[in-house]
């Protein structure tokens, strides 16, 4: 048993960083959400413990924002999947050298030119829900393409050749070999798209109208424009709950469908 724990030692510093700067803040978030709002100076009233902030979810305003966030997340994940899958197929059909070039070009706007991309989109698209969704698709798409592309590369190419040899048309090969075998990649891409779509921040911030905000934008506004940290923390907790539901919910739904089909 002792030997096993010591094997974790090399990972120690990295784990400590995640615990201190990710897990810690998340726990702190829950604590801050239980403070009462500040009266006068400060960001919250120290030493208080109450659920008053969570009552805000019961009124229509926050519930509306949460609903809008979920709608955005689902729309983003669906759009991303619909574009990423054909793009992944296209990518895997290229020669090794072209794959590399195409991959670099797909990664470039999100990873290297994030601000430049938002600047360009802002010039072209009038603010609104559609612009928000397009911007978020631009932000999430590269990751989804990589996930699907990696899945497609792992397919055994001889399976497709065998299917062709047995007389299947290229559509049949796609429908009955490629598509089913690449399903795990599609599910993962949808799941990640949903998780990132729920946390949509830059899209609605730069391209959404003020009344079309997601939870992420709303909590930023509460914290920085009104200094209401407890309420912002409460909204963040709500957002985390949604993301957790997405993370566990998508595989669960897939599992259920598989069981009912059997």
């Amino acid at each position: 048993m002792k030997y096993r724990v010591s094997a974790l030692l090399p990972a120690g510093p990295a784990l400590a960083m995640v615990c201190g700067l990710v897990i810690g803040p998340l726990l702190l978030l829950i604590r801050v959400s239980l403070y009462e709002p500040a009266t006068g100076r400060g960001f919250y009233t120290p030493g208080t413990l109450s659920f008053t902030n969570y009552a805000a979810f019961a009124d229509g305003y926050l519930l509306g924002i949460a609903g809008f966030t979920v709608g955005c997340g689902l729309a983003i994940a669906t759009m991303v999947l619909l574009i990423a899958y054909p793009l992944g197929l296209f990518l895997s059909s290229l020669t090794a050298r072209m794959q590399l070039i195409a991959l670099g070009l797909i990664l470039m706007p999100k990873t290297a030119g994030l601000l430049a991309m938002l600047f360009g989109l802002q010039r072209w698209l009038p603010r609104g829900v559609l612009a928000t969704l397009i911007a978020e698709v631009y932000l999430v798409l590269p990751y989804a393409v990589i996930v699907i592309y990696a899945q497609l590369l792992n397919l055994d190419p001889t399976l497709r050749a065998a299917a062709r040899g047995l007389g299947a048309s290229s559509w049949q090969v796609f429908r009955r070999v490629t598509l089913p075998l690449s399903m795990p990649g599609m599910i993962l891409a949808f799941q990640l798209g949903l998780m990132w779509g729920l946390g949509a921040f830059l899209g609605p911030l730069f391209l959404g109208r003020p009344n079309e905000t997601t939870l992420a934008v709303e909590l930023h506004r509460q914290a920085f424009e009104y200094g209401r940290w407890p309420l912002a923390a409460t909204e963040a907790v709500g957002l985390l709950v949604l993301v957790t539901v997405a993370a566990t919910g998508v595989p669960a739904v897939v599992q259920m469908r598989r069981v009912t089909r059997c």
């Binding site: 600047f119 360009g120 730069f206 930023h220």
Partner: protein, 287 residues
């Protein structure tokens, strides 16, 4: 058949061009000779680039961005590498535990992380410091660094380490003469990836920036939102140029390295291929 292939290729490349178009538009606008946001057609100028590099606030932000990105990349690789290296010695459960925790920073919404970090940096005195920014950026870079190193660990690494130990090398000697030289390109690639990511990190930075430690994206975003100008386009392009160079380097390294260790990056499955002469020689000359 040929027509269909052509249609597919036009659609595929067309999508990629659509993805690139907004960035290209911004680059175009950044050469504008006046302060309008229409792309220049006849007269081009570097006026806004000069203005950006002469402005103290922009320069401070650019330098701050580069410093933070460099330090964060170093820290992320220094912590992710041992973690990725040790995965082979762990049980299944431990592996899942470590991967889950190290990938967590990429999975939770940055806005929630930002608002959670706010009280933490206030309490610990990291508020407004470069150190705080570096720690946060390194944590955000951990997942990508870990993933790259993990998937590209050379296959023969543990065998060569065992061989070196059998030949009487001490643990530090193995690390210095076998492990690090073999890992160096992968670590470099991972470092560049984290660097590029950190340069563009604009979500958590928006929450944590103060005039003292603000990185470029934190200076750009309020202006981008309320008063876009060619100057903002220039500032956005600066990170885009550095970032693109970075991506090129990463892909290049991963592909030359990845021929053997990253089958997912190359098309031909290398499993049943006989090793080439130079590879055998290469392996046998390693101490």
């Amino acid at each position: 058949m040929l027509i269909r292939k052509r249609v597919i290729s036009v659609l595929g490349w067309g999508t990629i061009v659509c993805l690139l178009a907004p960035v290209l538009h911004t680059v175009w606008v950044s050469f504008s000779p006046d302060s309008f946001l229409t792309p220049p057609t006849t007269a081009w100028s570097f006026k806004w680039y000069v203005a950006c590099f002469q402005d103290r606030r922009w320069m401070h932000a650019i330098l701050q961005s580069l410093t933070v990105a460099g330090l964060a990349a170093g820290l992320a690789v220094a912590t992710a590498a041992p973690a990725a290296w040790s995965m082979g010695n762990l049980t299944r459960t431990q592996q899942r535990f470590v991967s889950f925790l190290l990938l967590l920073p990429a999975l939770i919404p940055p806005a929630a992380l930002g608002i959670g970090l706010l009280p933490l940096v206030h309490v610990t005195g990291l508020w407004g410091t470069t150190l705080g920014m570096v720690l946060v950026h390194a944590t955000i870079g951990l997942p990508i660094g870990f993933l790259i190193i993990r998937t590209c660990l050379p296959e023969q690494l543990s065998e060569l380490e065992t061989a070196a130990a059998g030949l009487g090398a001490s643990q530090p000697e193995i690390l210095r003469r076998v492990t690090l030289p073999l890992l160096a390109p992968v670590l470099f690639a991972a470092g560049i990836a984290v660097f590029v990511l950190s340069l563009n990190e604009s979500l958590v930075s928006i929450f944590l920036a103060t005039p003292n430690n603000e990185t470029l994206p934190a200076v750009v975003w309020p202006q981008l939102r309320y008063s876009p100008s060619p100057l903002v386009a220039v500032a956005s392009c600066t990170t885009a140029i550095i970032g693109t160079l970075g991506i090129l380097i990463v892909l290049r390294i991963l592909v030359t390295r990845g021929r053997h260790s990253c089958p997912s990056l190359t098309k031909s499955p290398p499993s049943d291929r006989l090793p080439a002469c130079h590879e055998i020689r290469q392996v046998s000359t390693v101490p």
